[in-house]
């Protein structure tokens, strides 16, 4: 386990060094920062023009949005290899090389790409979360902080699970992975809408299939006291873990399919 972690670290190191080999690497960081600042701008503009939607203030939406943002960013930063896997590794046949190395496939693939500028997104997200919490007068009690940390951990696992899942499916269909955007982009858009106003069907999809509302809305509602039982806030981590486990299952099936059919 310790050795696997060491290999992950070394992979990350070599990816960082690779990035620095090219001029203008600092431009990339700047670029992502600009993009991340621009992202929540739409929410801010709409709210400043039209005011609150019932009890839903801009801060509430920004809090949810930033939580999703941070969770996605963490998953993307630490599991970049999986988000690239379908497009880069299978097609090029590089996965054969991964199989030829005496280390866990999971560790090797997740660390096969690492871009430091991706970390700009979770960093930005955390800043917005804290700002919104302060504006919403949320008490930073131990329990509330724990719920928030568990929510982010659950969110990280969920988005990591999305990447792992898509990689597993990619063993069967190398193209046709656009549906993955339903789980990534669409799930981030969903939390930009006040949850009670969502059609029930959509709400159920994003609770029971892709649990983005469980990992974002429930914890946010719990610590912000927006109604509903507080205990629902604790569901984020188990839901994230379950989704991740499902992703891993698909990954395992995909690997054994690859080994029996070749590419």
């Amino acid at each position: 386990m310790l050795k696997e972690f060491r290999v992950y670290r070394q992979f990350v190191r070599i990816n960082l060094l690779s990035g620095l080999e090219y001029k203008g690497w600092w431009l990339m960081i700047f670029q992502v920062l600009v993009a991340t600042v621009g992202d929540p701008l739409a929410v801010i503009l709409v709210f400043s023009r039209f005011g609150n939607i019932g009890a839903w203030s801009m801060e509430r939406i920004l809090l949810m949005y930033a939580m999703a943002f941070t969770a996605y960013g963490l998953g993307e930063t630490l599991f970049r290899g999986f988000s690239y896997f379908p497009y880069r590794m299978i097609r090029s046949g590089d996965f054969d090389r991964v199989l030829l190395r005496p280390k866990s496939l999971f560790v090797q693939v997740s660390a096969s790409f690492f871009h430091i500028h991706r970390a700009a997104r979770p960093f930005m997200g955390l800043c917005i979360i804290i700002w919104s919490l302060v504006r919403l007068d949320v008490q930073f009690t131990f329990v509330n902080v724990m719920v928030l940390i568990f929510a982010l951990a659950g969110g990280f696992l969920t988005y990591a699970g999305v990447f792992v899942l898509s990689s597993g499916v990619a063993f069967f269909t190398i193209n046709a992975l656009d549906w993955i955007h339903v789980l990534t982009s669409a799930s981030r858009e969903v939390v930009r809408v006040p949850t009670p106003y969502l059609p029930q069907a959509l709400r159920h999809i994003f609770i029971f299939v892709m649990p983005v509302l469980v990992i974002i809305y429930f914890p946010a509602a719990a610590i912000g006291d927006w109604g509903g039982a507080y205990w629902r806030g604790w569901l984020a981590l188990p839901a994230g873990a379950a989704f991740f486990a499902a992703g891993m299952l698909f990954w395992r099936i995909g690997v054994s399919h690859y080994k029996s059919t070749g590419s």
Binding site: Q10, I14, L17, Y22, L99, L100, K259, G262
Partner: protein
């Protein structure tokens, strides 16, 4: 004791074909005709530690499939394969720690960083003790004449230089078995000769078993004490290279490629 033992290894692939005729493109988007193609139809052989074996055969004969099965990338449909007493596809990690694989057409070096950084990463991947790593990387750098290249990124090396680094990378962890898939493809004469000399010496010094696939018969002639011909998923010849020449040469001093071409023709490959 034989350390490579293959028995009745069979492997088929599913190939998808587009239907023919009018509207075929449209039809192909919904209906796929699957055809089962046999890659290996029951291959058996064994080899001892320290042998230098050449695997030849026309394109698509099943050479790569054989190597992929022996290196644990593919699972065969049936048959057994024991290498160092292990089934490659069952005990992947333990198996691959003992082998080295070089694909002539692909690289295992990290493209953008100096060769020495790639070696460092391989040290962690194979858990090579620090002291041994020092000794081994120096010894390989000297033998392959790559000391001056270690601080250059892989993408800036010529093909010949890169191939020497690839071979060193594959041998850092002192594997007992080395697979080389077309190692001399695209190399100039000097690099080819140097590579052959190195492999021969390495085999003598460390007793590493070398199994190489190639289309360059001079590789086989210069290196291998045993040659296997694979065609249509079958093992068609297994023995000394000279025996092969005797069997298929029509006259003395015939060009080696002509002999091989005559053999492929006779075996209807």
């Amino acid at each position: 004791m034989a350390h490579i033992e293959l028995q009745e290894i069979r492997k088929t692939y599913k190939v998808h074909e587009r239907p023919t005729g009018k509207w075929s493109v449209l039809k192909g988007a919904f209906i796929r005709n699957t055809k089962i193609v046999q890659a290996l139809g029951g291959i058996s052989f064994s080899a001892n530690q320290g042998e230098l074996v050449g695997l030849i055969g026309p394109n698509g004969a099943g050479k790569s499939t054989t190597v992929k099965i022996m290196s644990g990338i593919l699972t065969p449909d049936s048959g057994t394969c024991l290498i160092h007493g292990r089934m490659p596809w069952k005990e992947r990690k333990a198996h691959v720690a003992d082998i080295g694989v070089v694909f002539g057409q692909r690289t295992q070096l990290w493209w953008d960083v100096p060769i020495s950084d790639s070696f460092q990463l391989l040290r962690d991947i194979y858990d090579i003790p620090k002291g041994d790593f020092q000794v081994r990387s120096q010894e390989l750098a000297l033998a392959l004449d790559i000391e001056g290249l270690l601080s250059t990124p892989a993408r800036q090396l010529s093909l010949g230089q890169r191939m020497r680094c690839e071979i060193a990378a594959a041998l850092l962890h002192r594997p007992k078995l080395l697979f080389l898939d077309e190692p001399t493809i695209g190399l100039d004469a000097v690099s080819k000769l140097a590579l052959r000399a190195f492999l021969k010496e390495e085999n003598k010094q460390t007793g590493v078993t070398v199994l190489l696939t190639t289309h360059d018969m001079d590789d086989v002639d210069a290196l291998c004490n045993r040659v296997m011909v694979i065609g249509h998923g079958q093992l068609l010849y297994d023995g000394a290279f000279d025996g092969l020449k005797e069997q298929y040469a029509t006259y003395q001093g015939q060009d080696i490629d002509e002999v091989i071409a005559a053999m492929y023709k006779e075996l209807a490959l």
